[in-house]
Amino acid sequence: MEQTITLQVQRYIPEQYPEPYFQSYEVPLRKKWVILDALNYIKDEIDGTLTYRWSCRMGVCGSCGMMVNDRPALTCATFLEEYAPGPVRITPLDYFGIIRDLVVNTDDFMGKLKRAQPWLITDEAKPLSEGAYKQTPQEKAEYEQYSMCINCMLCYSACPVVGLEPDFVGPAAIALAQRYNYDSRDEGEDQRNEELTGEGGIYSCTLVGECSEVCPKAVDPAGAIQRYKATGAVEWWQSVLMPWKGKS
């Protein structure tokens, strides 16, 4: 007989039950199955009402993030076998509102992402006739690590400050701000500093470091935030000690 493992899945169906509850499912414990395969098995074979997000199954789209035994993980990149003999607890990402079952509300995160202005900002757009914005491989290497972020939001669920301070802009957004701050083609650093060195910005971070621990793309948001704190401090001292210098 095939070996099985129990998945304790948090359900939330607001129109039927006001509170979330747990439902257990027994699924085959197959080698090479990831948690997402087990959820798909439940959806296809046991209970079609189970709701969750997923898309690429290969750690690129960032939509299948959930808490697996209370730790944020991409369910497509987490092997079921590691949790044998089980049971495994699957809950929605911490610190997010739940829409249904394992689907969380990302509106707040989207707003925070916007605060970080993660796009190329230039003082003046170059006319098309002048050609492309060029960049050397060295210049690209400056920010490449931070550009690997897939917006999976695992770092938000890992960060206790996100849980305690709803205004904290959070790890991924700050790492993405740095992705553009370190881009040789970008001129938006002042704008981002304005937004990120104030209330709920980089200095709310207490360097717990869990964001970098759970990041599936080795972005190291904690490192990005620390570097930003140092930049912000230099800027602050400059504005106090050399006010005539103005903004660079």
């Binding site: 305690l164 060195t197 200095y203 704190k229």
Partner: protein, 117 residues
């Protein structure tokens, strides 16, 4: 929406400087005065020579910087420990006065001591 000018970078600078200094230097002090000399690995410096070392202006400045920045490192760390650990963010202004005020008081006492010693 322009965020209001914050003093956090200031406190963070003192915190960072204090953390770096104390992490590198305090273990040396502990190793020398707390372990090596009591265990007899190193010969104990006599009272007179230690006193003349501390009286040297550079030692006075060194001690002042080390003690003061370490205190500010504590203040910032403890502020956030109270916020997040004990969930006391609503007492923010009292906590800031207590932590940074404490570090400032310690700094003043240290200044008086290193000047008058």
């Amino acid at each position: 929406m322009a965020a209001k000018k914050h003093n956090d970078p200031f406190w963070w600078t003192l915190f960072g400087a204090g953390g770096t200094l104390s992490a590198f230097l305090l273990p040396v002090h502990v190793a020398l005065i707390g372990i090596a000399i009591p265990l007899g690995w190193l010969e104990a410096p006599g009272y007179e020579s230690l006193r003349s070392l501390v009286e040297h202006p550079i030692t006075r400045i060194y001690l002042f910087v080390l003690i003061s920045l370490s205190l500010f490192h504590w203040a910032h760390r403890f502020r956030y420990t109270l916020y997040d650990g004990l969930m006391l963010k609503h007492l923010e202004s009292y906590i800031m006065v207590f932590c940074y005020g404490g570090a400032l008081a310690g700094t003043i006492i240290t200044a008086i001591l290193v000047i008058t010693f």
